[in-house]
Amino acid sequence: MITKLHVVVLLLLTFFCFLFAPPLRAGEAETESTDANSPASAQPKGRPTDFHLGHPRMFVGGHAGFNFPRAESDLFSMVTRELTLEKSDLRAPVMGFDFGVTFQSHFAAVFSFEYARTSPFSESRNFVQDNGQPITQTTHFTQMPITGTLRFYPRKIGETVGSYAWIPAKFLPYVGAGAGTIWYQFSQSGSFVDSQTLDIFVASFNSQGFAATGHVVAGADIGLTWRIVANVEARYSFAHTALSQDFASFHPIDLTGLRLSGGLVFRF
């Protein structure tokens, strides 16, 4: 279940991302006092900030966002029918790390690791205890995909001027596709109602394992400095896998879903 706390944390994270990376203005450089057209007396010191001496080929970064599972398999139909769960309760905050390599001016290969977990609290939708108390349980839904993505940038990632100066593009939309593996865990614990006898029993159900996953992405890199890039991305992933025996006779669990995220990337 997405709580207000999740939203606040995400907003704060986004805020700090922008706070620590001042926006890039046209013509801004580390030697701001040095007008590019001013005479040579003002000697630049250190390294430039809005361009780079050399062409960075790799980047590493982190992202945060939300996972919106499609949750269309019968497992989710059952739990949302029996319990006071909605599919939206399975939305989970996501955190992840990315490592990428750029090549051919328009492409990047990105390896990502993510962690998404939600633990909504629920009650039996149709039954209560004989004293009127709700029959409660907690569901944990965890997903950890490890994926590789090939991104295509329609615009050049950066522009080499001369032999040494490299100017990154400030806004870089991209699309891409990739694949990988996803580890998931779907577990429930608490009190449940036997649908045949209406007995209330305490139990834990668990299913976990790996599944192959494929995805498509669309996003954009927004240059803050030559080194620091803000990233926003939408990723739609496809995955299904069989459930463990705690969940008998179900079709494979639907791990398909949309992930929206934002993050920061550091080029090197």
Binding site: A36, S163, I167, F192, S195, F201, V202, F205, D246
Partner: protein, 463 residues
């Protein structure tokens, strides 16, 4: 005081008459100051003024020269104030003079079997005088020269010579130091005016100036000028794009970047010829007889062999150079400081025009003919590798190694717990194992099942 305007002025504490007087007075002051400034500008705005004076050559090697033997270059305006009369005076050499009219006019050059042209022009925005010549000789082909005169400090001048012959470029640089003003004459400006003009002309170049110069000056020549001037413009992405949009040569962009960040690059001069002022420092035979003694006529802008009695090689380029030969360029700036080309090479070309680097025996020193290679006059090497590397090469998850830290969380055998500790008022009953058989609680599309192993109470429908 019935007039509202009068009232408002009066309220401000001024009478109309006083206000009008103040306006007239301030206007007069403005015009007075402007007139003074314009007068100052007019007296010092001759582009030739900074060059006028007596200069001495201060290249390495000449430092050991007896001051009494020192050559000086005297520059004075022509009588019509349109050009410069430049003459070199040396105690042991005949004077060498030339008249430089930097008006951009192309003038014919004729010398023995060679024909061509030469021109000079003033580049005011950069404070440069650029001379160019092209000559073609019957036997040896085309020779092109460019010289650039530049005052880069108040008392420092550089003369940069670029020679193109047989498809190759050579660059030589000469430094001169201001010695003194010319003897005051009625038609000359006061010394302080000339000093001010030299200060102005030696002002650092802006990026716009570099871009403009790159369109009109040979790249090796401009590279040499930028190095001598130690140009360090502020750079940012916008200025780099500006250079790129102006189609500034890559060599100039690279050099601008390297000069802007000197701690990041090492710059070597590539193709600079050796200057050997041996004739000046020599104390032996009189130079006038040892220097091209067989010649009686010298042609400005021509090259002469330092050794041969028939030393004139005109504009023959370098096709006929033999190892160890040197050249002297007939110019007040260069005449007694030969440009020495230590000829090595491996192409064996012995004499024809356009034969490339002439062959020779080699000097064993490993020094080849100093030629500006396609990389440009400035050879730039980044001091640090431009690409960073991941620290230690690890620390990031990879597909082949999903990563420590979470793998232990996977795989654990499914389990359940059941009992009266769940807190439900009537909860209880047995447990189940996912791997277990009958009696284990389970979930199915139809709902949950306790597995018949006991219940903790009875559920009732929500009312």
């Amino acid at each position: 005081m019935n007039n509202p305007k009068q009232l408002s002025i009066a309220c401000a504490g001024f009478s109309p008459r006083l206000l009008l007087g103040a306006i007239l007075a301030s206007t007069s002051l403005v015009f007075l100051f402007a007139g003074f400034t314009m007068a100052q500008t007019k007296s010092g705005d001759s582009p030739l003024l900074p060059w006028i004076g007596v200069w001495s050559i201060t290249d390495s090697g000449s430092a050991t020269v007896d001051p009494t033997q020192k050559s000086t270059v005297e520059i004075r305006p022509t009588s019509d104030q349109k050009g410069l009369e430049i003459s070199r005076h040396s105690p042991r050499q005949p004077d060498v003079s030339e008249t430089l009219i930097p008006d951009g006019t192309r003038r014919p050059l004729v010398a023995q079997n060679c024909t061509g042209w030469q021109t000079a022009r003033w580049i005011p925005e950069a404070g440069l005088i650029l001379e160019s010549s092209e000559t073609t000789c019957k036997e040896t082909g085309l020779l092109a020269t460019s010289t650039l005169k530049m005052i880069f400090e108040t008392d420092q001048m550089a003369e940069i010579l670029s020679v193109k012959a047989a498809g190759q470029s050579h660059v030589a640089v000469r430094h001169l130091t201001f010695e003194r003003d010319l003897t005051p004459a009625p038609d000359l400006s006061p010394a302080w005016v000339a000093t001010s003009a030299r200060i102005a002309i030696s002002a650092p170049w802006s990026l716009d100036t570099i871009i403009q110069l790159s369109k009109s000056i040979d790249t090796p020549l401009l590279e040499a000028a930028m190095i001598e001037r130690n140009v360090r413009p502020g750079l940012n992405s916008q200025s780099l794009r500006q250079m790129q949009a102006a189609k500034t040569p890559k060599e100039i962009i690279d050099l601008t970047v390297a000069l802007a960040y000197p701690d990041q690059f090492h710059i070597e001069k590539n193709g600079q010829v050796v200057l050997r002022p041996w004739l000046v420092s020599s104390t032996s035979a009189s130079a006038s007889s040892s220097y091209a003694p067989g010649l009686t006529t010298y042609y400005p802008g021509a090259f002469y062999n330092c050794y041969s009695p028939q030393g004139y090689l005109g504009y023959s380029g370098f096709g006929s150079l033999a190892p160890g030969y040197c050249w002297s360029y007939y110019s007040p700036f260069w005449w007694d400081y030969p440009i020495y080309f230590p000829v090595t090479g491996n192409n064996g070309g012995g004499g024809g025009s356009g034969s490339g680097v002439p062959g020779g025996g080699g000097n064993g020193s490993g020094n080849g003919v100093p030629v500006v290679t396609p990389g440009g006059y400035a050879r730039i090497q980044p001091i640090n590798p431009p690409h960073a590397r991941p620290r230690g090469g690890n620390g990031f998850p990879s597909p082949g190694n999903p990563g420590a830290g979470w793998s232990g969380a996977s795989g654990g055998s499914p389990s359940y717990s059941a009992g009266g500790d769940s807190g439900g008022s009537s909860a209880g009953g047995g447990g189940a194992s996912s791997g277990g058989g009958g009696g284990a609680p389970s979930a199915s599309p139809g709902g949950y099942s306790s597995g018949g192993s006991g219940g903790g109470g009875q559920a009732v429908p929500v009312k």
